[in-house]
C-alpha cells in the first residue's frame, strides 16, 4: 500500500484506506465472491450427471465389492440362536446347549427354506458341509432331546471340531477368512492362522503368475511399440496418419474375433504350425504347442494391448524435434549416447504412461486367458470369474479382486514415488 500511494497523483493516499464498494453500497469484495460462487455452482450443475454416473456405476459397486469381501451374514442372520451361543461361550467346545441351539435354528431354517444358504456359507470354510446342513434341516422337526446324540445320529461328522470352528467363524458377519483363503491360508481347529495343505495352494502362485505375466507382456509391448511409435512420430503427417489407422484397426475389431483368429493361427493344426511343417522347419511329429498355454496367452495379449503402449509413446515422441538429437550429435555424442541421454529421457513420461496402462489392463485381463490360456495360462482374473459365475462364492471373488486392486494401487504408489505421477503423459 505504501508504495502504491507513493506512486502519486492518481492513486492518492486516501484511496487505499476506503474499502471499495458497489454502487448500492455493498462491499465489492463480498459482491465479487458471491457472483463467482454462483458461477461455480452453475458450472458444477453441468458435471453433476457425470458425477452421479460415476458414483452409481463405479464407486458404489466397488464399495459393495469391498464390503462383500469382509461381510457375509448368511449364517449369522439365519442361525441367530447358535450365533448367540457362540458369542456367549468363546472358545468352548459344543455342549448340549449348543446342539439345542443348532436344532432350534435348523427347524427355523427348514421353515424359512434357508438351510442351503447357511450350508453354502459354512461350505466356503469347510468343503462338503453344505449337504449336512440341508440333510439335518430336513430331519430337524422330528428330533428329540438330547439333541447332541440325535444330531450325531444323523451324521457323525457333526461332532467334527473343524465344522464347529467353521460355524463359529461364520457366526460373525464380518470376517477376514475370505482374505485368508485368497492368500492360501486358513484357521486350524484351534483358530490359529496356518497355510493350507500344499495341494490346495492355488491363489498365491496365480497372483505371482499374473504379475509376472503382466510384466513380461508390458516389456514385450514396450520393445515392440517403441520403434513403431518413433517411426510414426518422425514420418510426415499424411503417412503417419495412414499407419496410425493400422495401429488402431485392432481397436475396431471385436476382441473375440481377434482372440479366435489367434486360435486359428496358433493351434497345433493351425496356420503357423502348418507353414512351419511345410517349410520343414518343424518336424510333423512334434508340432509347436502355442495355444492353450502361457505362450498363447502372452502372444494374444501383447497383440491386444500393443496400441495402449504405442499411443502414449507416440503422443510424447511427436513433439520431440529432431534437432535435439542433432544438437547432441554436434556436441560429440555418438548416436547411441544421443539416444540414451537425450531422446530416451524425453520419452520417459510416455513409457511410464504406456507401461502403467498396459500393466494394469493385463493384470485384470479375463477373456483372452480364458479362451487361449488352457490350464497353464490362467490368470487370477479367471479365478475371480469362476467364483462369480460357478462357485457363487462372491465374497471370495471380492477378496481376490480387492487384493488385486490393492496390489495395483501399491504399484501405482511405487511408480509415483520413483518416477512421479505428474510425469505421466497420455497425449
Amino acid at each position: 500500500m505504501a508504495d502504491l500511494s507513493a506512486n502519486g497523483a492518481i492513486t492518492g493516499s486516501n484511496v487505499a484506506v476506503t474499502p471499495l464498494s458497489t454502487t448500492d453500497g455493498r462491499s465489492l469484495k463480498t459482491a465479487l465472491a458471491a457472483a463467482q460462487s454462483r458461477a461455480k455452482r452453475r458450472a458444477l450443475l453441468l458435471v453433476l450427471p457425470l458425477l452421479l454416473f460415476i458414483l452409481i456405476s463405479f464407486v458404489l459397486p466397488i464399495g459393495q465389492m469391498l464390503l462383500r469381501s469382509v461381510h457375509n451374514d448368511a449364517f449369522s442372520a439365519n442361525m441367530p440362536v447358535l450365533s448367540a451361543w457362540f458369542d456367549e461361550n468363546p472358545g468352548k467346545a459344543p455342549d448340549e446347549a449348543a446342539y439345542s441351539a443348532l436344532v432350534s435354528d435348523l427347524r427355523q431354517a427348514r421353515a424359512d427354506k434357508t438351510a442351503g444358504l447357511i450350508g453354502t456359507r459354512v461350505n466356503y470354510d469347510l468343503a462338503g458341509s453344505r449337504s449336512m446342513f440341508t440333510a439335518a434341516a430336513r430331519k430337524a422337526p422330528e428330533l428329540e432331546p438330547p439333541y447332541r446324540d440325535a444330531v450325531l445320529a444323523i451324521n457323525a461328522d457333526w461332532g467334527n471340531p473343524a465344522l464347529w470352528q467353521a460355524m463359529r467363524s461364520a457366526s460373525t458377519p464380518y470376517t477376514a477368512n475370505f482374505y485368508l483363503a485368497a492368500l492360501d491360508m486358513t484357521r486350524d481347529p484351534q483358530g490359529n492362522i496356518v497355510r493350507v495343505e500344499e495341494s490346495r495352494r492355488i491363489y498365491v502362485s496365480h497372483f505371482v503368475k499374473t504379475f509376472v505375466f503382466s510384466g513380461v507382456i508390458t516389456a514385450i509391448c514396450l520393445i515392440l511399440a517403441y520403434p513403431v511409435a518413433h517411426m510414426l512420430a518422425t514420418l510426415p503427417l499424411g503417412k503417419s496418419n495412414l499407419l496410425m489407422i493400422l495401429v488402431l484397426l485392432p481397436f475396431w475389431t471385436s476382441l473375440l474375433v481377434r482372440t479366435t483368429s489367434w486360435m486359428v493361427l496358433l493351434q497345433e493344426q493351425g496356420v503357423v504350425n502348418n507353414a512351419l511343417v511345410a517349410t520343414g522347419t518343424v518336424d510333423p511329429a512334434n508340432r509347436l504347442s502355442m495355444m492353450y498355454n502361457q505362450t498363447g496367452t502372452v502372444i494374444a495379449m501383447v497383440h491386444i494391448l500393443l496400441p495402449f503402449m504405442i499411443l502414449p509413446l507416440y503422443a510424447v515422441m511427436r513433439p520431440i524435434k529432431p534437432h535435439y538429437v542433432r544438437a547432441a550429435r554436434s556436441l560429440g555424442a555418438s548416436s547411441w549416447t544421443a539416444f540414451r541421454q537425450v531422446y530416451l529421457p524425453q520419452t520417459l513420461p510416455g513409457i511410464g504412461a504406456g507401461a502403467l496402462l498396459v500393466f494394469i489392463l493385463a493384470v485384470g485381463y479375463y477373456i483372452t486367458p480364458a479362451l487361449v490360456g488352457g490350464a497353464s495360462g490362467q490368470m487370477i482374473s479367471n479365478f475371480i470369474a469362476y467364483h462369480m459365475q460357478s462357485s457363487l462364492n462372491w465374497s471370495m471373488a471380492a477378496a481376490l479382486a480387492a487384493i488385486l486392486l490393492a496390489a495395483v494401487l501399491l504399484l501405482y504408489w511405487l511408480y509415483d514415488r520413483l518416477v512421479g505421477i505428474d510425469n505421466i503423459k497420455l497425449g
Binding site: 524435434k321 534437432h323 544438437a327 547432441a328 554436434s330 556436441l331 560429440g332 555418438s334 548416436s335 544421443a338
Partner: protein, 376 residues
C-alpha cells in the same frame, strides 16, 4: 575498379589460410534437382562468414553438410585440410547453435553444458571450470541450476551459445540463431556474438536470411540463390558494388530502371531508358551494346538539392507519388522514367523539405552509383 569486382565470384583469390573448404560440392535430395550446384568456397581460420539467401537457396543445406547431418552428393568438404565427407557429426568437433536453441529440456543449464564435456570424458573438476568460464562468457553464471523452460528466449540463446563454445571448438556453425528473438534483443545478441568471435578467435559460419544481420556481423558474406553463391564479398562491397541484379535486389533497398545499352565504353555505359532518356551508368555484368539491362541505384545516393548535387551528376525529372515518414528518414516514392516504385531517401533533418504528392522535382545521382546489371 568496379569492373574488377565482377570477376571476384571466385573466392580463392583473397583467402590464404584456408580452414574450411567446399570443393565442387553438389547436393540433391531427390536425385532429380540439385539444391546445391557446384559450390566452391574457402573459409579462412578466424573468419566470420555468413551464408545469406532466401529460403530454399541452399544455404542451410550447405551448413548441414558441413555439420555432417547431410552428405554431399558429390564433391569434397575439407576441414583443416582433412576431407570430412565420411566423418560422422560427433567426431567433427564442430560447435553448433540451432535456430530453436535445442537445449535439452530434461537437463539444467549446468547439465546441458556438461554434456559435450562428459561425452569427451573430462573429469568433474575440469568440467566445472569450463562450464563456469563458458557461462561467464555469456554473462549467465547465475542460471546454472535453471531448466530451459524457466528461461526467456534470449537467455536460452545465450546458454545455447555457451554450450556450443564450452568444448573449445575451432569452428562454430550458427543456423539462424537469432530468428526467434525480438528486434532489440536480436541486435544486442549480434553484438555479443561478434564480441565472442573476436575474443575467442574462432571461425564462425553463420546462416541467416536477414541481410541486416549479415552486413553488421560478417567479415565476408556469401549470397546464395538457386543453389549457387551469387557473390562472396565483404559487407561494404556487397552493398555498394553488387555484381548482379539478384544481389542488388536482395541486399538493401534498390531502385531499378529498365533500359537498353546504347554504347559500352571503358568503365562507362550509355543506357537508353524505356522513356527515351539517355543516362550514363557503370557497367557490371553486361558485355555488349544492344543488351537489355536494369540500372540499379541505391535510394540514399539520390539527391534533389541543386547545391548538393555531385559533380557530373545525371539529372532527371521526377513526380512525387507519396511520402512515408520513417522517423530517421523520409522515404519518398516517385515516378521516374516510367517506373513508379522509384524511392529516394532523405535524412529527417531540421528544415528538411517536405514533399507533397504530385509535386514535380528534379533529382540526380552520380553515374558511378548507377550500376548497369543483367535484367532478371
Amino acid at each position: 575498379m568496379s569492373t574488377a569486382t565482377a570477376a571476384r565470384i571466385n573466392p580463392e583469390d583473397d583467402v590464404k589460410d584456408s580452414f574450411v573448404s567446399f570443393e565442387r560440392v553438389q547436393k540433391s535430395y531427390d536425385g532429380e534437382t540439385l539444391v546445391v550446384k557446384d559450390l566452391n568456397l574457402t573459409i579462412a581460420k578466424g573468419e566470420f562468414l555468413t551464408m545469406l539467401g532466401p529460403s530454399g537457396s541452399g544455404k542451410t543445406t550447405c551448413l548441414m553438410m558441413l555439420a555432417g547431418f547431410e552428405t554431399a552428393t558429390s564433391g569434397e568438404i575439407l576441414l583443416a585440410g582433412r576431407p570430412i565427407n565420411s566423418v560422422p557429426p560427433h567426431k567433427r568437433g564442430i560447435g553448433m547453435v540451432f535456430q530453436n536453441y535445442a537445449l535439452f529440456p530434461h537437463m539444467t543449464v549446468g547439465e546441458n553444458l556438461a554434456f559435450p564435456l562428459k561425452v569427451r570424458g573430462l573429469g568433474k573438476a575440469e568440467r566445472d571450470a569450463k562450464i563456469v568460464r563458458a557461462l561467464d562468457m555469456v554473462q549467465m553464471g547465475r542460471l546454472v541450476n535453471r531448466r530451459p523452460a524457466q528461461m526467456s528466449g534470449g537467455q536460452q540463446q545465450r546458454i545455447a551459445l555457451a554450450r556450443a563454445l564450452v568444448f573449445d571448438p575451432q569452428l562454430v556453425l550458427m543456423d539462424e540463431p537469432l530468428g526467434a528473438l525480438d528486434k532489440q534483443l536480436r541486435e544486442h545478441m549480434q553484438f555479443e556474438i561478434k564480441r565472442l568471435h573476436e575474443e575467442l578467435g574462432i571461425t564462425v559460419v553463420y546462416v541467416t536470411h536477414d541481410q541486416g544481420e549479415a552486413l553488421t556481423m560478417s567479415d565476408r558474406v556469401a549470397v546464395f540463390n538457386d543453389g549457387r553463391i551469387q557473390q562472396l564479398a565483404p559487407p561494404a562491397e556487397l552493398y555498394e558494388r553488387p555484381v548482379n541484379s539478384f544481389v542488388a535486389q536482395f541486399i538493401g533497398e534498390n531502385n531499378k530502371l529498365p533500359g537498353r545499352i546504347e554504347a559500352l565504353g571503358q568503365g562507362v555505359a550509355t543506357v537508353r531508358l524505356v522513356t527515351g532518356e539517355l543516362i550514363d551508368a557503370t557497367p557490371v555484368n553486361i558485355t555488349a551494346a544492344g543488351q537489355e539491362t536494369l540500372v540499379s541505384i541505391r535510394p540514399e545516393r539520390i539527391e534533389f538539392k541543386p547545391e548538393m548535387m555531385p559533380a557530373g551528376a545525371h539529372r532527371i525529372g521526377a513526380q512525387v507519388l507519396d511520402v512515408i515518414y520513417m522517423g530517421d528518414v523520409l522515404r519518398v516514392r516517385m515516378k521516374v522514367a516510367g517506373s513508379e516504385d522509384f524511392v529516394m531517401k532523405c535524412r529527417n533533418t531540421l528544415g528538411q523539405r517536405r514533399f507533397k504528392p504530385g509535386e514535380l522535382v528534379e533529382i540526380g545521382w552520380h553515374p558511378e552509383d548507377a550500376r548497369a546489371l543483367d535484367p532478371i
